[in-house]
């Protein structure tokens, strides 16, 4: 870990443990409840993402932590002290804005130095800290440029440096990559992840892109209509979605609706043994969990079915098949790339991969 990064990481949180506590926070705009009774804890040093569609409340929650809105109910605590009663400029929290919000009348250097100047930091110290922040985002040679002369990606880096130079306890990122094109986005994602690892600063990241969330986060908090749907690590949330919504929002899935009767799960054409009490049920079955097994033998912990191929979408490394099980039941199957298929085939999946989810 080089020295510039080390000194930035220095001012990090109280040693391991809880950094931010959101306790029963709610926010109402007019007659709309944008956030309802949200409680979550953020550990220091973690990269946590607020994921959701527009209107899910994720940006509002971020703004509450930043201090641009006040909660209608509930409290926010940071490092053992009350946070939501403080104005933004007194919080040890900094934000990277969606459209960067760089000051057009200041150079890159002056933009980055802004937070330090405003808190009357010693001039000698400002110089060195700004230098190291610019080096960290690789923008040293643009120090004297005006923001209007920079590309989107470059502006984004400056916004990052401007926030981090202040050594915040928590960094908020409001969909910072959404304005970038696909390739640049991927590149910035990996740079951001690496940066967070090195600095050890807690990142609270907001996005609507579930792939991005999965790639970057230690934990994902999925928001839906102002409430927390599920909060877990990416692997956990992918493999064990709690609800149908989560299963569909994160990655792709087949939602199988049916019932359990007499120890058998019945979902359309599919059936498999399941030793639980009778009830209606929904299962999530990921496309990649289903395999082709023409002529193969079914194991005890597997379920088999026949279906005819309706569509085959080639994707380079894999194929996505749309198959008809009969009686209008369509499923998606993902298999490794091969030559075009057609007609009826046999498919198999492990019973354990049919995850039961709530509505």
């Amino acid at each position: 870990m080089n020295s510039s990064v080390a000194s930035l990481a220095q001012a990090a949180a109280p040693a391991d443990g809880l950094l931010l506590e959101v306790r029963g926070v709610a926010k109402r705009f007019g007659v709309r409840d944008v956030l309802r009774d949200i409680s979550l804890n953020i550990a220091s040093g973690e990269f946590i993402t607020l994921l959701g569609e527009s209107g899910s409340g994720k940006t509002t929650l971020l703004r509450l932590v930043a201090g641009f809105e006040q909660p209608t109910a509930g409290e926010i605590w940071m490092g053992g002290e009350r946070l939501d009663t403080l104005p933004p400029y007194k919080r040890r929290v900094n934000t990277v804005f969606q459209h960067y919000a760089l000051f057009p009348h200041l150079s890159v250097r002056d933009n980055v130095a802004y937070g330090l100047r405003v808190k009357k930091t010693a001039t000698s110290e400002i110089g060195s800290r700004v230098e190291e922040a610019l080096r960290m985002v690789k923008m040293q040679e643009f120090a004297e440029s005006r923001p209007s002369k920079l590309s989107g990606g470059q502006q984004q880096r400056v916004a990052l440096a401007r926030a981090l130079v202040n050594r915040p306890l928590l960094l908020l990122l409001d969909e910072p990559l959404s304005a970038l094109d696909a390739n640049l986005r991927k590149q910035m994602q990996s740079e951001l992840k690496a940066l967070q690892r090195e600095l050890g600063i807690t990142f609270l990241f907001v996005t609507h892109d579930q792939e991005e969330a999965m790639a970057l986060s230690d934990r994902i908090a999925l928001l839906r209509n102002g409430a927390l749907e599920q909060i877990a690590s990416p692997r956990e949330i992918y493999a064990h979605p709690a609800t149908a919504y989560t299963a569909q929002f994160i990655g792709q899935t087949n939602l199988l609706r049916g019932e359990i009767r007499g120890g058998i799960a019945n979902c359309g054409v599919l059936r498999w043994p399941l030793d639980v009490p009778d009830s209606l049920a929904i299962f999530s079955l990921r496309p990649e969990a289903i395999r082709l097994c023409d002529g193969g033998v079914r194991q005890n912990d597997e379920a088999k079915f026949r279906a005819s191929i309706r569509q085959q979408l080639y994707g380079g490394a894999s194929e996505l098949l749309e198959v008809d099980c009969g009686a209008g039941q369509l499923l998606r199957v993902r298999i490794s790339a091969r030559e075009p298929l057609s007609g009826e085939h046999e498919f198999v999946f492990s019973i354990a991969d049919a995850i039961r989810v709530q509505e």
């Binding site: 641009f68 809105e69 006040q70 933004p88």
Partner: protein, 277 residues
Amino acid sequence: MVLQMSSATSTRRAPLLTIYATLVFIFIYVPVVVLILYSFNRDGVGGFPPRHFTLDWYRQLFGDGPVWDALLNSLIVATGSVVLALILGLLAALALDRATFPGKALFRRLVLLPLILPGIITGLSLLMFAVLAGFQRSLILVFFGHATALISVATTELFAGLQKLDRSQEEASLDLGATPWQTFWRITLPNLKLSLIAAGLLIFTLSMDEIAVTFFLIGSENTLPQEIWSRLRQGITPEINAISTLIFAVSVVLIVIWYRVRTRGLGAEAQELLDRA
């Protein structure tokens, strides 16, 4: 789309600033309020507080012939100015928006000059020109003066409207077989409707109130401001308050209409942008 929700900054208490802003508001409105109040005061203008409500001054006003003649003159000049200024202003705006020619920069500045120059300079220049050309001071001369000075208002407003115009609409029209002339009447002009109305209202009001340029070009027939002015030279009478109150009332109505027209235009455009997004 996420609304630009009111941030904490915009609603945080700022008591001193609020008081100061209120005082400025009061300062702006005090003369108008006093004017209106005292137009109903029997004991005339001055003294405090006003007692004895009366409508006498309004009655006197309605029987005052010269005032109504002056009003008629003003209306004629104003209407004429609107027509002429809009036509020339539209052409100027189109020229600035679409054509390049030598001296264009000079032309642009020249057109906008009467807006920023004190009226006395424009008025005197026109007077000297008139004398040299052998014209008498008269209402017609006043009309020319107003129209010329107010082209700048029309140009500014219409130029802004042209900038907002989606060029691809005109291209689509030509693509579908319409001639430039047809395109102008069927596409360009309707899109400028709101700018034309806003500019027209503004020019009308400015012409009705114009005094600086008028001062030097007027002949024997008075416009309304001229009439008020010559009365003022003779002394203060509450009848002037009455005229002023009426002028104020009409101005308020016009400006509310102007504002509605302008912002409705903006609303419609914003809606279009949203639909397209």
